[in-house]
Amino acid sequence: MRGAFAVKDHVVPKTILKAINWNRLQDDKDLEVWNRLTVNFWLPEKVPLSNDVQSWSTLRPEERELTIRVFTGLTLLDTVQSSVGAISLMPDVVTQHEEACLTNIAFMESVHARSYSSIFSTLCSTKEIDDAFRWSEENPHLQAKARIILEKYKAGEDPLKRKIASVFLESFLFYSGFYLPMYWSSRAKLTNTADLIRLIIRDEAVHGYYIGYKYQRGLEKLTEAKREELKDFAFALMFDLYEIEQRYTEELYDGIGLTEDVKAFLHYNANKALQNLGYEALFPPSVCEVNPAILAALSPDSENHDFFSGSGSSYVIGKAVATEDEDWDF
């Protein structure tokens, strides 16, 4: 016991409550990510979804059903991440600024979950919507992946295991669903819906990057043996989730013959999720060859530069890019 309390021993030591001071950072990444998160803020109302009504009517009934199911699946994951995931990370924070970033992440996940309902109310009948939500409650694969993640979020689990689960949700589990609007967009269908999904994809990329970064900072404080254990845990969890994702993908996409195309996209995103944690790829390049139309739908107007191979138009430079940064001296 400290001296002050020895004298007045009836005084109960109080925790000092600290106001967050953004002018004194322990980790510069917190401010960088906070700025990115807040500048990227958006609401579904800003996307003119009603322009997709005509396009929606050109989809066959089974394509419409698939699309609504995929979106309810995504809604479930966003719900988990908003109401449990991001909040479960808060007791583990190292800085107060990290906690503030997590409040933004939790809120944006609610915006994402809410967005799917905007899409539904614009495009679908009440009966179609109710049927799809029932489907999401009854689909064993969807329920299984959400449940595995929720288990890892429980209090008492290792804080770094929570971060692994969180990164896998943000950077891997969404992608069996994100594939479909990118596919429709590549065929000039539901293009406004795709614009909205791209905003969600952009947010998830920041979330996965940031939580993965905090995971790596956490690892630095551990022994080699503990680091190995966590790496084994991460790869084992990825295998378990991948098993479920395969079955989920087959069930959804076999009907329109896209399963293999979706699986390549899953492998590619699994590798990126592992990179967010600082790990090497799990799937070899041969099974990660994503359909170029899907890649182009993900990042339109940004061709993959490969000057070396002589392909593409990499030497065409200087078209409207934001070079207006006051720090440039020339």
Binding site: V39, A205, N276, D301, H305, F308, I317, V321, A322, D327
Partner: protein
Amino acid sequence: MPGLVFFSSASGNTLRFVTRLEEVSAGRYGTALRIPISPQDPMPDPGGDFVLICPTFADGEGRGAVPKQVIRFLNDPDRRAGLRGVIAGGNRNFGQTYALAGRVIASKCNVPVLYSFELAGTETDIARVRRGLDLFWGMECSTMA
């Protein structure tokens, strides 16, 4: 021999890319020089021609794509004079701003974007960049001669 200069933030993606590139290049480009994260630390001096490897940090509008420290590095005319090309890191999930830092630097400095890769790059990216750099330096040397 021409060299490599790179920036990597505390997340370390670009550092991991450069480390693997050095492993497969058997020191052909010397030791890659790192632009420091902290503005207090001294800038490296490439002392000749180099290729810059730089990640992208753009917001939704494309602002802030090039890290401030990279801008400071390039603001020096002597250092900038050695820049021959840029390789950009990024993430396709950021849509139109994917690997934007490469395009911004290319247009500011009038050099080609040689390649772009996601996060810490794949095996395929590393192999392509290694082969490409060998060819590129060959090409540059023959046009200089």
